[in-house]
């Protein structure tokens, strides 16, 4: 993505493309752990969706369906908060590889 020079920026740090933080793939921040969704244990309480600081819980229709790894930073909050008898989200090890995109 070509970055503007200071002369090309809008006055006062104003961002004219509201909502363009979707371009910022926070998933590139993950460093060694990622959540794994186990659908058969899930009671659809939506706690994970509520707690996830990066809106990285995938929802289809009325149901939690998994994790959006483009934005999941691997913070582990969803796994911590998941109240189902047997955890529906568990943190697993992940090989770290430098992803493309995101910020410098």
């Amino acid at each position: 993505m070509k970055k503007e020079t200071w002369k090309e920026l809008t006055i006062g740090t104003i961002n004219l493309e509201a909502g363009n933080s979707v371009q910022n793939l926070t998933g590139t921040w993950r460093s060694g752990h990622k959540p794994e969704f186990i659908e058969e244990h899930c009671i659809q309480c939506f706690f994970c969706w509520l707690y996830c600081p990066h809106f990285a819980i995938l929802v289809e229709g009325d149901e939690v369906k998994g994790i959006d790894y483009d934005y999941c930073t691997g913070c582990g909050m969803c796994a911590e908060e998941c109240p189902s008898k047997e955890k529906s989200i568990v943190m697993v090890k992940e090989e770290v590889k430098l992803a493309e995109g995101g910020t410098e």
């Binding site: 970055k3 503007e4 020079t5 200071w6 002369k7 920026l9 809008t10 006055i11 006062g12 740090t13 104003i14 961002n15 004219l16 509201a18 909502g19 910020t103 410098e104």
Partner: protein, 393 residues
């Protein structure tokens, strides 16, 4: 026709506010600026102003309200002093970074500790790197004139930078003076209608104000912010000239008093410059070739213009009403001396700190300085680069 009114410094600011009638006025009262806020509140209660008056729970919140209101697209003002300005500190940088043309009246007062309510420049000098334009006033008339011009300067499309107008606490804020108040209509015409840039209330366009920058954008945004204050000098001059044409009192970056054929000069801002003029008159009567240079604009600092005005002199004393502990001299001194560095020949420049916590400075103290300048001019030697006036040693 302008009318003559007897007002103190705080009332002149409130009077200017009434005439400009900004959309939002948000302030928390603090001595010695309380009467600005109080008078505005009274104007509002009496139905003399139409803008919103907000009195939040602190100065931090007052500046936050100003930032919110200015982002929404309003013309905005506030007033404070001392600890109040200090409490606004983090928000000052945000106002400047967001390029919001907020105008603030500051009744300059000392900072704690020890607690002191009297006038010095520690508060605004503490905020000198916050990105705000700084204008200082010698008397009530200048406070009124500067405050009105501040809106035009701040709101100019090439500038869009907040402006603070300083008036010395008590010495100006509480001293009655007969001033010329211009007609409401003429002032409204002079400041003109405010045109916000990308206001949040324009719902046809979705924008984000104050987004997060990482290492890849922060630097560019800060560089782009500099553009506003760097464009200010031309606008300040243009507005000062236009004000003069309209109301008969022109303004520039600084005032020179009896500087023709001067060999030495005292540089001092704000109310002390008034006393200094009397001292200069007496010294001139004694045959001394001394003048005064009174900076009006401290940020952006008019370095070239001040250097040009001082370069041919033998000795210059810069008087500061604040200290800069651990630095090479107080704030005004470092600016003036630095501005002269590239000139050859250049005058010897010394620094005197005066008036902390409202300590008086009298004609005799300026004469003391003049004597020291004479000696430096004569010998070409500086024995004491940094000193204090009217301090028990």
């Amino acid at each position: 026709m302008s009318t003559l009114k007897t007002l103190n410094g705080n009332q002149t600011i409130a009077e200017a506010v009434r005439q400009v009638d900004p959309d939002v006025m948000a302030a928390y009262p603090i001595t010695p600026s309380t009467a600005i806020v109080e008078t505005i509140a009274k104007f509002k209660a009496d139905g003399l102003i139409s803008g919103e008056f907000v009195c939040p729970e602190s100065e931090h919140s007052a500046m936050s309200v100003c930032i919110g209101a200015a982002s929404a697209g309003g013309r905005v003002m506030t007033a404070t002093a001392s600890q109040g300005l200090a409490l606004m500190w983090e928000m000052l940088f945000i106002a400047a970074g967001l390029r919001l043309p907020i105008v603030a009246g500051i009744a300059n007062r000392a900072l704690s500790a020890p607690i002191n309510i009297h006038g010095d420049h520690s508060d605004t000098m503490g905020a000198r790197d916050s990105g705000w334009i700084q204008i200082y006033s010698e008397n009530c008339q200048e406070a009124y004139d500067n405050f009105i011009q501040a809106f035009r300067i701040a709101e100019h499309l090439d500038v869009r930078t907040p402006v603070l107008v300083g008036l010395d606490g008590f010495i100006i804020s509480h001293s009655m003076e007969v001033i010329q108040v211009e007609e409401d209509e003429k002032i409204k015409e002079f400041v003109g209608e405010y045109q916000p840039v990308y206001p949040l209330l324009d719902t046809s366009r979705k924008i984000t104000v104050g987004p997060l920058d990482f290492t890849d954008y922060y630097f560019e945004h800060k560089r782009s912010q500099m553009e506003g204050i760097e464009n200010a000098p031309g606008v300040i001059q243009q507005v000062g000239k236009e004000y003069g044409e309209k109301f008969g009192r022109p303004y520039g970056f600084f005032e020179e008093y009896r500087m023709e054929d001067a060999e030495t000069c005292i540089v001092v801002m704000s109310s002390a410059a008034g006393t200094c003029k009397d001292a200069i008159d007496e010294l001139r009567n004694e045959g001394k070739k001394i003048g005064l240079l009174k900076p009006r604009i401290f940020r952006p600092f008019p370095d070239k213009e001040i250097a040009e005005a001082l370069k041919g002199l033998k000795a210059v004393a810069v008087l500061d009403r604040s200290t800069c502990p651990g630095a090479f001299g107080a704030p005004l001194f470092t600016e003036v001396r630095n501005a002269l560095y590239d000139y050859d020949p250049r005058p010897k420049v010394v620094n005197y700190v005066y008036g902390l916590g409202g300590r008086d400075i009298m004609v005799e103290h300026f004469k003391e300085v003049a004597e020291k300048l004479d000696k430096i001019a004569e010998t070409g030697k500086v024995e004491e680069m940094y000193g204090y006036l009217n301090l028990r040693e």
